[in-house]
């Protein structure tokens, strides 16, 4: 069974997995993994490249173009709002999309987003017509401010980028889901294994963005398939309604017609 489709800034999607295009051992492996993931949204970036080297950039572009996916360019590596805004403008021209995964980092050690610069950049980019997908921490107040600015989608981290630590603060993520019920929420970064993705989806997150967990697997295509199934399973479970936890055991086998001394042991 396939979980329900969903909308991201008005675009209807079936897959709830956004996948990155970096770190794969080869372009062929990247393509196999993206196909296996069934993702409809892939993340890309941009860099200054000299013409002599840009042939490789063009090869990359041809591969990406052949996938027919929606593109989500990022502002990776930016450490200030002006830098991120500048990169977003270039990305819009380069990739012909208003979507931008807004990354403004505040710490080079754990690549933690700078919440203040993120809010500053988001405000300007939304005024310029961008559809902002902010990569943010799981701080409720920050997320509320980003929503107030007009973000329809938020992408809090599960753990620092590339760590594979899973959801280090499920309480904070669950709080975001409960307090921001109308927002589209994706966990971006820190997912290490499919069960991490299931956990996020069971909490009610709408999707997952990941890259390293697939690209650095021994068999990326197989791992991409595993994530696709896990994310679908987690969403189905959320939609089906997970049973509440109980303190005491409750027999699942009917006790009707059992001898009276067995019913009340």
């Amino acid at each position: 069974m396939q979980a329900s489709s969903w909308k991201v800034y008005g675009t209807e999607l079936d897959s709830r997995l956004f996948i990155g295009t970096a770190l794969y051992p080869s372009p062929r492996v990247m393509m196999e993994a993206i196909h296996a993931s069934k993702s409809e949204v892939i993340t890309v970036s941009l860099r200054r490249q000299t013409p002599s080297k840009s042939v490789s950039g063009d090869k990359f572009w041809k591969l990406i173009e052949s996938l027919g996916c929606h593109l989500l360019p990022n502002t990776a590596g930016c450490y200030s709002a002006p830098e991120a805004i500048k990169t977003a403008r270039m990305a819009r021209e380069l990739f012909d999309t208003d979507w931008i995964k807004l990354e403004v980092l505040g710490d080079s050690y754990n690549l933690q987003p700078d919440p203040f610069a993120l809010v500053e950049a988001t405000k300007i980019l939304i005024n310029e017509g961008f559809k902002v997908f902010p990569y943010c921490t799981d701080d409720l107040v920050l997320c509320q401010k980003l929503a107030d600015l007009g973000c329809e989608v938020l992408m809090p981290w599960g753990a620092p980028i590339g760590t594979g630590q899973g959801l280090i603060n499920p309480y904070a993520l669950e709080t975001l889901r409960k307090r921001l019920p109308d927002l589209t929420l994706l966990v971006d970064a820190g997912i290490g294994k499919p069960s991490d993705a299931v956990q996020a989806m069971e909490l009610g997150f709408d999707g997952i963005l990941l890259n390293t967990a697939v690209a650095e697997a021994l068999e990326p295509a197989k791992m991409a398939d595993a994530f696709a199934q896990a994310i679908n399973a987690g969403r189905l479970a959320y939609e089906a309604g997970v049973m509440p936890k109980r303190d005491n055991a409750k027999s699942s086998t009917p006790t009707l017609e059992q001898p009276i001394w067995q019913q009340y042991v």
Binding site: V44, S54, W61
Partner: protein
């Protein structure tokens, strides 16, 4: 400076110094550098140059011109 040099200007292209003819347009520069990629964006002094302006945008002394291309990203 010789008469010939007066007709040339220094710009910074993708972070490196480059001497080009005075009055050169973005389109001229792309031809000069044999930029054959299908997907790129030209940025002059941090401002994106729309494709429609390649023929008319001239580079000036000291301009920083960059060509940005797609790369993989997470």
């Amino acid at each position: 400076m010789s008469e010939m040099n007066k007709q040339q200007i220094d710009i910074v292209f993708n972070g490196e110094g480059l001497v080009v003819e005075k009055g050169i347009t973005v389109m001229d520069l792309l031809h000069l550098l044999e930029v054959v990629t299908r997907r790129f964006v030209v940025v002059i002094n941090d401002q994106v140059v729309p494709k429609s302006a390649y023929m008319t945008t001239q580079l000036a002394l000291g301009d920083h011109c960059d060509i940005m291309s797609p790369i993989s990203g997470g």
